[in-house]
Amino acid sequence: MAKLTMVQAINLALHQEMEKDEDVVVLGEDVGVDGGVFRVTDGLIDKFGEERVMDTPLAESGITGFSIGMAIYGLKPVCEMQFSGFGYMAMHQLEAHAARMRARSGGRFHVPMVIRMPYGGGVKALEHHSESREAYWAHTPGLKMVIPSTPRNARALLVSAIRDPDPVVFYEPKSSYRAFREEVPEGEETIPIGQSEIVREGEDLTLISYGAMMRPTLEAAEILEEEDGVQCEVIDLMTISPIDDSKFTESAKKTGRVVLVHEAPRSFGPGAEIIARLVEKSFLYLEAPIRRVTGYDVVIPLFQREFDYLPSAERIVRAARETLDF
């Protein structure tokens, strides 16, 4: 096992899936010769050639609609939006076509494509490079929405996404791209889409998060154990849609207290859906109001102040203590 960054782990998944399946094609802006602006697709063009690693014109809707056509024909395009902030141009194609083709054609056609997008704040980027808008995609019937949190689960989830017969929006937390390394097995590993994971067991409080926010969430769990003797159960959703509510609703029954964390704006964010399900399925077990530690419902500030916007371990600890003291 090698210790890889998330960029390397995603790159490994692409290499291996392209070796395994000749129909897998990578396309996007600067993904070929340049290896992607984050180097996620580094080396692919040398190995697989420009027919399978396509530098496209600069047009996000074009990349998406073109990929839909390729997927209908039988290829498995993995296309990249350079930043999720430019991915809204893909919304129309994904909503109107990728998400509906199976239903509209009575099952004759389907769209096995992956649309990768780096998302989220914390890397001192320019405007339009820091948003976390997973709710847009997760709200669309027919689309799957996946967000990994570590190198190992990023690799395993991307393999599943590429093999999935339906379109998958794959958000990559760019603040985690090179922030830490993790052992990633060379051999094949997959994680089913639509499955969450308990990454830390505990009895006192349930913390729910995903993506880049898993790090401050786990840090908060450490602080709460060390300073308060509180055992947190921490759940990594990994898939936003189709959401797996089996683990967090069970965990809430055990702990009775829930804090959830995402950097997306609070209103109508994934947290709202999680709370709805907790109310539907775990209501009688809840001991305290559920707290949301999230981005605020504002335009995300430029990078001098982005850490004031993003949830931190301190904010999570504070919310957890209030929940525990209720």
Binding site: G62, F66, G69, Y73, H97, R108, P141, P242, S246
Partner: protein, 379 residues
């Protein structure tokens, strides 16, 4: 330092072969077999009569909104007549006649416009995409399918249709650009019917032609008389041959006219004059083609009448079959299948909730129903 004209190495031609009087330019006349000419005539006539019947059904409240094709029979049929069965069609929402030519069952078209998603089912072996309503979006799929064809080394081509309004959409430009850059076997057919609901062609773009937009993407473009089925066929044939030979995409602008409403929800009297419509009625694609076929001794007035009555009978049967099918489907609802290959847990929950709300529509009959009396024999 020069300041000089740049040679774009491309010109835009206009092609017309058969005029409205039925006169032909013999030098340009395409080499078409008699059977093909007669099949095309029949398909154009069927397209017109089926359209009229649909309008009638819609006005009678039996069908929902749809987009009539009246006047555009030549523009779409002349083009798809150049395709082989294994080729691909990527339509917009005004290609009923082209879809039928390519094997779509008219009953299914009626079903879809009567609000049954079952009508949208594409049978195996027919490479037609479902009709796309968001304007211009489908052109990108044709570029992508073209790439798939090229990638797999197949000899297929893909033809997509759209209107003059679509040429203002970003996706149209991205599609032409991608098709050009990746040299895909894609034929872009614009049915310039002069009106995008109430916005006329002059208001859509300041360009003199739509065809010239091809120049910007470095691909061949041609403008044809879209009411002249021979011109459309000739231009499409060249484009299909180029695509099949690996020479990439073509943009064909068919200058035609939407003789009817945009959709049945539209009232064109608000934005265009009767005189304009009358002017175009004189340029009708079907009557001029009939004149041509009569001159060639391929068709007589008596035969036209015969075909008309055959079509009438055929449509009657189609409508009858559709009404029967509608009754069968009215009692059934299944909106959950088709969202994903496999239903996720929360959709299984919603499906169960739905089935408990409407048990009469979701319970499967235990025993097969008694066979109904044969309607044909009742007559």
């Amino acid at each position: 330092m020069p300041r000089e004209k740049i040679d774009l190495e491309q010109d835009i031609e206009y092609l017309s072969i058969l005029n409205e009087k039925g006169e032909i330019d013999e030098d340009l006349e395409p080499d078409m077999k008699d059977d093909l000419l007669l099949d095309l005539h029949r398909a154009m006539l069927f397209g017109r009569r089926f359209d009229e019947r649909m309008l009638n059904l819609q006005r009678g409240g039996k069908m929902g909104t749809f987009a009539p094709i009246k006047g555009q029979e030549a523009a779409q049929l002349g083009a798809v007549a150049c395709l082989q069965d294994e080729d691909w069609l990527v339509p917009s929402f005004r290609e009923t006649a082209a879809e039928i030519w390519r094997g779509k069952r008219p009953e299914n078209i009626l079903l879809a416009y009567a609000g049954f998603s079952e009508g949208g089912v594409i049978p195996k072996g027919i490479n037609n995409l479902p009709a796309a309503i968001p304007v211009g979006t489908q052109t990108l799929h044709a570029a992508g399918i073209g790439y798939g064809i090229k990638f797999k080394g197949k000899k297929q081509v893909v033809m997509t249709f759209f209107g003059d309004g679509a040429t203002s959409e970003g996706d149209f430009h991205e599609a032409l650009n991608f098709a050009g850059v990746f040299n895909t076997p894609t034929i872009f057919v614009c049915q310039n019917n002069q009106w995008a609901i109430s916005i006329n062609r002059a208001h859509q773009t300041r360009s003199k032609t739509l065809a010239q937009k091809a120049i910007a993407y470095g691909i061949p473009g041609i403008q044809v008389d879209g009411n002249d089925v021979l011109a459309v066929y000739a231009a499409a044939k060249e484009a299909v041959e180029r695509a099949r030979n690996g020479e990439g995409p073509t943009f064909i602008e068919c200058v035609t006219y939407r003789m009817s409403v945009h959709t049945t929800a539209d009232d064109p009297k608000r934005y265009r004059s009767d005189e304009e419509v009358e002017k175009w009625e004189k340029r009708d694609p079907i009557s001029r083609f009939q004149k041509y076929l009569k001159k060639k001794d391929l068709l007589s007035d008596e035969e036209i009448e015969e075909i008309e009555s055959e079509i009438k009978e055929e449509i009657k049967k189609i409508v009858k079959g559709w009404e029967k099918k509608k009754k069968e489907l009215e009692g059934r609802v299944d909106m959950f299948e088709g969202t994903f290959a496999e239903l996720p847990a929360y959709l299984v929950e919603q499906k169960e909730e739905f089935e408990s709300e409407l048990p009469e529509k979701t319970e499967k009959p235990e025993e097969p129903e008694e066979p109904e009396a044969d309607e044909e024999s009742e007559e």
